[in-house]
Amino acid sequence: MFRRLRRQTDFSAEVQAHIALETDRLREEGLDESEAQAEALRKFGNRTTAEERFYESSRSIWLEDMGKDLRYALHALFRTPTFAITAILTLALGIGANTAIFSVAYAVLLRPLPFPDADRIVTLYERLPGGMDESLSAGDYPDYQRQAKSFELLAAYRGGPVNLSGRNRPERVPGAVVTPNFFSVFGVQPELGRTLTPQEDPPGGVLVAVLGDSLWKRRYGGDPNIIGKSILVNGEQRIVVGIMPPQFQFPEKTEIWESSRFRVPDHPLRPMLDESTNRGTHYFDILGRLRRGVTVQQAQTETTLIAGRLKKLYGDDEESDRTHVVNLHDDLVGETRSPVLILLVSVGLLLLIACANVANIMLARGATRHKEVAIRGALGAGRWRLVRQFLVESVLLACTGGVAGILLARIALGPLQKLMPANLIPGGELTISLPVMLFTLAVAGNAGLIFGLFPAIQTAKVDVNDALKEAGRGSHGGAQATRIRSALVMAEVALAAVLLIGAGLLIGSFGRLLSAPEGFNPERVLTLQLSLAPAQYPKPEDRVRFVNGILENTRNLPGVSSSGIISRLPLLSGNSTRNVDIKGRTPPGGDIAPDYLVVSPDYFRSLGIRLLEGRTFTERDSATSATVVIVNQATAHHFWPGEDPVGKYLKIGDTKDWTPIVGVVADVRQHGLGETARPALYIPYTQDPWPFMAVVVRTSMDPASAASAVTAAVHQVDHDQPVFNVRTMDEVVSSSLSPERFRTLLLGAFAGLALALAGVGIYGLMAYSVAQRSREIGIRMALGAKPGRLRLFVIGQGLKLAGAGVLTGGLLTIPLTRFLSSVLYGVRPTDAPAFAGSFVFLILIGLLAAYIPARRATRVDPVAALRVE
């Protein structure tokens, strides 16, 4: 389009030549020299103006035309503000929703990790039979480190919160114990001081810590002199050696990284013990940096060979002989990918519906603009130029809608962020960043082209002659335009049906989750979490004394009916398992390592877990008495199908004793309401006092109101002990459902919007066609047609559209729901109520949308209708 520009001097030369030629001619016609020259100049008119016009036009015809088109488009839109506002609002909704969801998708799935060559950072797991990933054992890790050639280095870390005490109030912050090479995996430099060096490589090294920027600024006032000072972490001295920049928070918002005591990260339960040669304990994560050019697949093949060798040398039957290497970003994205993609597709469908709606009003408007088009065509405007005019108008609409959409999205991001599951985004928050803006721009532009195309094509087909004639007779649109419009409305309804069915399925699934038997009674229960620092509570007896103290104190509070502790509160992430031996036998379903949970006697009563067989623990099950265990129903079914397990014996983990089962309790959805219960073992806390626990307090009043009293009761035992995550059990349940709630609410909202847009679409079409046919209706009424029948006729037309759309939508949805099945719980993707419900909804909306124009139709005054025009 942009040709090489002609020089101004060339143009002046041409004008000069023209005047010379004209002068020659005039002289031939008999004028004398000076007369001829004067006349030639006069005839040319103002030379400067001509040159200015040359200058302007030579800048580029295309741009000039575009400018005209834009001006014209603006003018046209201002002439019909209702149309413009409706279209822009519709588009703003569609584009805004897309921008907001894309910013979520970008943050979750696309935004690269803030590390150099982040695609070379991988996580190394062992793959268990059944597809579960497990971390390497402490003993195997050095062997991989030595043997694997795929990695520049392999580092280990264990994330977990730590208690900071000392000069300020005690605080609990997310931390990690890491090997010295941990930071080299990321290639991120500290903003102050240094990271860990091989000198910290244990055993015997000085224990040091690196602080995160946020912690450093918050707790230590950003004081650079903190480097070299010692701080209290879990009650132990750590020398601060460096500060990491703000964007470095791996893993999961960590603010403090400690060096380890041994060659591997410290064990959470036995921090003082060297576990580094223990091939049976798996408790930390492995990160690797791939050598340049090595693929994830190659690394996995190599490490799988190593796993096989290690199993032959040291492994028992349960040891895995395969590994699983995953790109770190993929690993972090994990299971959030498909829900986010589902939302992205849904919001895309919503935009299509919005586009169809705008295309429809543009078509209706286009029909009334035939005359204008014809006149412009007659005056020499090219067909492409006319088509372009319409496209410019629609792109202008789309861009305005896009800007409004970005504003809407900005408003929506706040609530969206609140609604989002906290750990959805790997490091960072929602913003409308440049890539998001570009995406929005592309979406808006394409939307403009999509919905502008129909009226534009229609315009291209306008026959100047016919249009001018038609204009004289006052007929509009034509049958073809009406067909296109009906098809658009039908498509809209179909897309809305897809969204409604999807939303119906998610809502049904969410309802199932809410009504799923938790296995416990969350009403009127307060929970809080504690973590005893090993330095302050080194001996098991100390921890038992602490727990006894808080149980006694809380039990005696007014309004508290019982209180207990458990090592891992149901519905929180994390798990511990132990292998079991049932007198040498292999259970029919194969070996499974049951969950291992340490509880106090009143835990079951406090959380409302039913005892099915035998007894619960009592005060007499102590550190010195014989070991006992309670199992859940799943354990009973798995290991002793059809038998009563009470009185049977188990060997748990590495213990040498046979432990008798004294009771069976109901299954608890320990790992999420949507997960079926795993086999679980409950151990009296006196016989294995864990340092971290959740306190569960059942109250006879509003549990939230007991929070301060319960916290105070803990502080009576140890006033330096940080108490965290004080929540009611209802809140725990509710927040465990936040990913499901997030997507259900969003998809529900999209479906609602889609429903409204489809309704508006049907209404628009019916109202338009009634207005178009007012003369026909008038004639019919004059001839004695009954208003009731006319009304039925119009409603029937609307219902036909809705019905056809709904059927198409239903058919479209069947292959699509497959993709939903991964996020559904207890609902099949072909769930009849979801389908039927959305059909009914859409038909009702169709009925409503057609009813208003139908009523208007029968109010037509025959005489007035006939006089129109």
């Binding site: 030549a17 103006t49 100047v464």
Partner: protein, 109 residues
């Protein structure tokens, strides 16, 4: 009579059917063929030529006129020829249509 807006382009293209011509020649030709009914504003002619050239409908090169003067000569491109035939068609139909609307016979005004 002044030219209707938008018709100058059509007339220029038409003129060039007979071969290459410079601007002054084009203006003269239009005036001559229309029996001096249509007056071409010479000042408006060159921007129009510029516009047609930019659209690729005509091309230009410097040459020498019959009376040995240097002048910029324009000729019709293939695209221009197509455009011309489309425009002429449209124009004829429009003329007929307008004629029909105005009515064939005498009209009392």
């Amino acid at each position: 009579m002044n030219l209707l807006q938008g018709t100058l382009d059509l007339l220029i293209l038409r003129t060039l059917v007979f071969g290459r011509q410079h601007g002054q020649g084009i203006a003269r030709w239009i005036q001559g063929v229309s029996n001096d009914e249509l007056l071409v504003d010479h000042g408006a002619l060159y921007p129009a030529l510029q516009r047609l050239e930019a659209r690729g409908w005509i091309s230009a090169e410097w040459g020498t006129s019959d009376n040995n003067r240097k002048a910029r000569f324009y000729s019709l491109t293939k695209l221009g020829r197509k455009q011309l035939s489309a425009e002429m068609n449209r124009w004829r139909r429009l003329a007929v249509a307008i004629g029909n609307v105005l009515g064939g016979g005498e009209v009392e005004v």
